[in-house]
């Protein structure tokens, strides 16, 4: 790992989401990418955050139970009749 100016590893990890959301200002973005180019630990950290997002994305959203859906559709019919 080469010492990179301005941004330490500890500071870089706090900017990862801003980086992925494209919310870094030009100056910070340059420092971020310069640091990353020379730092295996931070490159791995960024990669793992990307992995985390990808794997979280494979979770199944909570499903609506059949019972709850029936109640809501019944309410919708009642509402329709009364309006």
């Amino acid at each position: 790992m080469i010492d990179t100016e301005a941004l330490s590893c500890q500071e870089l990890v706090e900017l990862v989401t801003d980086y992925l959301e494209e919310a870094l200002e030009e100056r910070d973005l340059r420092a971020f990418e310069a640091h990353l180019a020379h730092c295996d630990g931070c490159a791995e950290y960024l990669e793992q955050m990307r992995t985390t997002i990808r794997v979280v994305g494979t979770l199944t959203p909570n499903d609506l139970t059949q019972a709850a859906e029936t109640v809501l559709l019944q309410a919708f019919r009642t509402w329709k009749r009364s309006s």
Partner: protein, 208 residues
């Protein structure tokens, strides 16, 4: 999903299929947001049900100044708050609105060299351990992630669930939860950082 104006027209016309579709589509997101304000999953489910009844009651007054989705989520938040007040529960608003007040490191500070280190202040002392790709998609890994998300503070849980599980945009999340752009990112960052740590602990435990 239909565009908003067509969707609203279909609902007003009593189109049951359109109603069922929108209820299914937003159910997971509504439940996750309701969980911020409710003590149990069961109460959250009731709040979601009550929200839809209120939505139907107010649909004729919907003017389309916001998207239908944003409007429905606002009704949800109000319903949940009203219910919490009625039941004498306190609501974690300060936590929702100003997460930056309480600092939280993405990575344990112990894993970095001290600030006065001669060669590499703030550099990695214990860099992230590589995650074995083949185990990432295993069922048990998923359970680890589910548990890690469940263990998050409610506001972080809501943001990561909506962004990364449900795939909402940051604007949709900001509107639904009434968060600033910065706070949305702070909460998302902390949530992802904690889930990443849980993955590392599980898949690449520290050798002792």
């Amino acid at each position: 999903m239909l565009p908003d104006d067509e969707l609203v027209a279909a609902l007003r016309a009593g189109n049951e299929q359109a109603f069922a579709a929108v209820v299914r589509e937003w159910h997971a997101g509504l439940t996750r947001v309701a969980r911020i304000f409710t003590p149990t999953r069961a109460v959250a489910d009731e709040v979601v049900q009550e929200t839809w009844l209120r939505v139907l009651g107010a649909l004729d007054r919907f003017e389309g100044r916001s998207s239908l989705k944003t409007w429905v989520f606002r009704i949800l938040v109000n319903t949940a708050k009203t219910r919490a007040q009625r039941e004498g529960r306190s609501i974690p608003f300060s936590a929702l609105h100003d997460p930056a007040r309480v600092p939280e490191a993405a990575v344990d500070p112990e894993r970095f060299l001290p600030d006065d280190h001669p060669h590499h202040p703030g550099g990695w002392e214990s860099p992230p351990r590589e995650l074995p790709e083949d185990r990432l998609i295993a069922g048990e890994t998923r359970e680890v992630i589910e548990r890690a998300i469940e263990a998050l503070p409610a506001n972080q849980r809501a943001v990561i669930s909506l962004r990364d599980v449900e795939g909402w945009s940051s604007d949709e999340v900001r509107n639904a939860l009434d968060l600033s752009e910065v706070n949305q990112r702070v909460l998302l960052h902390r949530a992802r950082a904690r889930v990443r740590q849980a993955l590392e602990d599980y898949l690449a435990p520290e050798s002792t």
